[in-house]
């Protein structure tokens, strides 16, 4: 092995900093993502978590549990104090859900990004409030069933489009923004490496797409496959932006039919052709926007 491949492989010689057994559900890609994350980042971190799926697995690392409402500010406080005592070597990293990122914790995140705080923020986007029982968040896709968006005579799943956090973060002018998913393993590792560097200058934000077999009502062994399909259908394009310059890290020349991804998920079992079309339009619109913004 040479070059990048060798470097990526080298991470797997590193100590696994998570407990061998965690309380995460079987087949959760977030557990895998966190395992890999800390192989790359190492022990010199302070982790920040909120109530939700994520707190359970960081038992071997220095950590601060935060309120969902102000995780980015909590990170700021620790980061600023560490800076004051000359400990800029310590990375402050959050691994929190889409609800804490896009909804209730958005105001502090937006402010911390605007202030250029040196934080590594990873949003574990499983597209709903999964830990509390699959309630809709603003990251929940159009038409999806959740326990707060039912399918009936007056409504058919979630009504509106996804709030697309990665672009919102990009417009804050943060150092590094990337989308990633465990289906593209090496892509994720490289992005964590870049984020680890970028955090020395400002905020690094990784939007990690993690299929949730419980909330999506999908087979648990398919979670990695689904995360790959999400990229191949352009449902979740992979890109990164260093200093605001957006570029795709994975171009999909011949997209797979969105139906391949949707049919695995029972949360979309009610979906008709018209609704699938609408979802496709949203996805195409987002892709077109990204392509307009992309420098390569």
């Amino acid at each position: 092995m040479k070059g990048v491949a060798k470097r990526i492989a080298s991470h797997f010689q590193e100590e696994d900093l998570l407990s061998a057994a965690t309380g995460m559900c079987p087949g959760c890609p977030a557990e895998l993502a966190a395992r890999v994350l800390f192989k790359v980042l190492g022990k010199n971190v302070i982790t920040f978590r909120t109530p939700g799926c994520q707190p359970i697995f960081m038992t071997r690392l220095a950590g601060i549990p935060c309120l969902m409402t102000n995780i980015a500010s909590s990170m700021t406080g620790a980061r600023r104090y560490l800076h004051k005592i000359g400990r800029d070597d310590v990375t402050c990293v959050a691994f929190v859900g889409d609800g804490a990122t896009a909804d209730v914790g958005f105001q502090p995140l937006s402010a911390a990004a605007a202030r250029g705080e040196q934080l590594l923020y990873i949003c574990n986007d499983n597209e709903a409030y999964m830990n509390t029982g699959v309630q809709s968040s603003s990251a929940t896709p159009q038409g999806s069933w959740t326990s707060t968006t039912w399918v009936g005579d007056s409504h058919r799943g979630k009504g509106n489009e996804v709030k697309y956090m990665p672009l919102i973060m990009l417009m804050h002018g943060v150092s590094y923004v990337a989308t990633a998913t465990m289906g593209y393993y090496e892509d994720y590792v490289l992005k964590v490496e870049k984020a680890k560097e970028a955090v020395k200058h400002g905020m690094a934000y990784i939007h990690l797409h993690t299929p949730c077999s419980i909330g999506w009502r999908a087979p648990q062994e398919k979670s990695i496959e689904m995360s790959r399909l999400a990229v191949q259908t352009n449902y979740f394009p992979l890109w990164e932006a260093e200093d605001g310059k957006l570029k795709f890290t994975k171009r999909i020349k011949k997209p797979t039919s969105l139906n391949e991804l949707i049919k695995l998920q029972k949360r979309f079992s009610h979906i008709n052709d018209q609704e699938l079309d609408r979802l496709k339009q949203t996805i195409d619109k987002r892709l077109a926007l990204l392509e307009n913004l992309a420098v390569e």
Binding site: N44, G77, H83, P108
Partner: protein
Amino acid sequence: MNKPAVETKPNIEVCDGNKAVAHAVRLSRPDVVAVYPITPQSAVGEWLSRWNDEGTLNAEVVRVEGENSSMGVCCSASLTGGRVFTGTSSWGLLFMMDGLHYAAGYRIPVVMTNANRETPGIFTIGNSSQDMWSVRDAGWIQVNVEDNQEILDAVIMAYRIAEDTDILLPMMVCYDGFYLSYRKDPLEIPAQDDVDAFLAPLKQSKRNIVTPDDPMVFGIPSFFPKDQGEGCTEFRYKHSAALERVKDKIDTVDKDFEAIFGRSYAGQIEAYRTDDADIVLVATGSVCGTAKVVVDKMRDDGVKVGLIKVRLLRPFPKEKIAKVLEGKKGIGVIDRSVCFGYHCGHLYMELKSALALEGLPTTLPTLNFIGGLANLDITVEQVETTINLTLAASKGETVEEVTWLSLEE
């Protein structure tokens, strides 16, 4: 305006309550400061930002986007080992309510000031104690002060109390908005050396901090509900016991403070001319200044009246208060807030419960006066009314239990 140089001698400066806070914070050398502007305390953040930018304060000043965030910044900076400060008022205090519980539950020595102001619902920026009392169950140490010199001194003492290893609790210094926050008084600004000496004993105290060098994790949820429940019961007990220890601690720290700075505030409560008093007023905050003047005046007229100024609100100094009130003939409590659900003021409700818990006779005539809401003044005449009515009640006359001062006929 004149910027503070590093002084080795105390210095007299005319400044308002907000600048008194800022001076105290600067002298206490905090590591991280996060203050969001809100009337009537915005100047606290302005001064601290300015001095930090000008280089006379060496702290990380975070320009947060809301109070919920200023508490978040302070909590984690404190958890990682820093000395922190935030200040707020009213709506801001309530916006950080989850953070208040967080800081107290985590037993971290966050020091905060609150400029007392009315709470949302009735649109006013005026002073009252409604905000301060609304958060009394968050598990913080709360003191409420009478004047601007006391603000300055109480903030410095707050660090000494909160960071003490016997205590390790967040502490809130409350002061009346407008009536203190905007009042200009000549204040003695202590010398930096003296404040350093006063806070020096804290350097020996060690507390758990979050650091990657020796990873400790905090508040990890247990997989087993029974453990969690029993663990929680134990930590709640320890928290409550630590709050009880604050009572003696605040008295000792006050004596230590007096030894260095020559000023004392008598710790938990100040009993003013109560020794031979027949009737006693009980009050807290800036109104105590006015009440002392009125007490002196009534004493000249031969009325045996005294005043208990309640400084410590949480933990509530029930033992000390009961001791002073033992054998008195009448009590009048002045409140600047409304305790909903009891149809009286907060201090009155607290006092009644303290008297019962301490075994004082429940037949003791005890009256409540509510006034001073939304920047209304509690005037000399009103304080005289409270004394006269209490005197009447002590002589067996029938008097309304709760009097709403500005709604009198």
